[in-house]
């Protein structure tokens, strides 16, 4: 709950595309140049560059400005916040359901006791 879901929209939007997810997965193994990233895809360099711009804009990747081949670098923090949101959301529902389970037990045992009392009257 520390992360507002709305702030993550651009990250989720960027990750909604399978090519961009593949690029991010590749960069999770280490920095790579645009040429290296384009290799596994049947896509032109400008096509890949467009995807990289989307990833760069939402802060998921960064590119060295000066180096000749401008290798792409995965910004883990941005990715972690997206993954963290998913985990957080899962945790909230899990704990909420634990409490609901207990609450259902409580109210059902109360109503059982009440029924028992009624029978004694």
């Amino acid at each position: 709950m520390t992360i507002a879901a709305g702030q993550l929209d651009s990250t989720f939007a960027a990750l909604a595309d399978p090519t961009r997810r593949a690029i991010v997965a590749r960069l999770a193994r280490g920095d790579a140049t645009v040429n290296e990233l384009a290799e596994p895809f049947a896509m032109s360099l400008p096509g890949i560059s467009k995807h990289l711009k989307v990833l760069e804009r939402c802060g998921l990747i960064s590119r060295t400005r000066n180096a000749q081949f401008r290798p792409c670098h995965l910004e883990r923090a941005a990715l972690d916040s997206a993954a963290g949101w998913i985990e957080e959301n899962r945790r909230i529902w899990s704990e909420r359901f634990d409490k609901l389970d207990q609450h259902l037990r409580d109210i059902q045992s109360q109503s059982d006791r009440k029924k028992g009392d009624d029978q004694h009257d």
């Binding site: 709950m1 507002a4 879901a5 709305g6 929209d9 651009s10 989720f12 939007a13 990750l15 909604a16 595309d17 399978p18 997810r21 991010v24 997965a25 999770a28 193994r29 883990r76 990715l79 997206a82 993954a83 998913i86 985990e87 959301n89 899962r90 945790r91 909230i92 529902w93 899990s94 704990e95 909420r96 359901f97 634990d98 409490k99 609901l100 389970d101 207990q102 609450h103 259902l104 037990r105 409580d106 109210i107 059902q108």
Partner: protein, 147 residues
């Protein structure tokens, strides 16, 4: 506890030892919600819960952290209320839609399936949805293995 259906979707299921009608009331009545809506260490005071269980009606809560008192207001609007089997609400701020489906399992047990979609506006077209090859949470799990 969890499974994945589609790509942009998160699904949680849990089986409760209680009849479906009662579980459904727990999901829409403030007197019940206050007992369980906040996760561990987080309370949802009764006076902060507003529920008007009709399409277009509000579903608002304020979750309060027991340790430091910080609060997390949430605001949703019901899209569908079909007692006792289905509730759908959407959070206008984030666009996230949550569908709760209650299924009778016999022996007074009920399965609750929470299905959430968090699809940012530009990606809500049919073509974009078809482009989702794997679910976001599966993707997160995958990244954890390669990182």
């Amino acid at each position: 506890m969890t499974d994945q259906t589609g790509p942009d979707e998160l699904v949680y299921t849990r089986i409760f030892d209680a009849p479906r009608g009662l579980v459904f009331r727990c999901l829409i009545e403030p007197e019940h919600l206050t007992h369980f809506w906040g996760p561990a260490g987080v309370s949802t005071p009764l006076e902060t819960i507003k529920v008007n269980p009709v399409p277009g009606g509000v579903f608002e809560t304020v979750m309060v952290n027991d340790a430091d008192g910080s609060s997390y207001p949430t605001r949703a609007v019901f899209i569908e209320v079909s007692e006792p089997e289905r509730l759908v609400w959407t959070e206008p701020d984030s666009g996230m839609t949550t569908t709760s489906t209650l299924r009778e399992l016999g022996g007074s047990r009920t399965e609750v399936r929470i299905h959430q979609t968090h699809v940012p506006e530009p990606f809500r077209s049919a073509e974009a949805r078809a482009g989702f090859a794997t679910s976001l949470d599966r993707f997160a799990a995958y990244l954890a293995t390669v990182a």
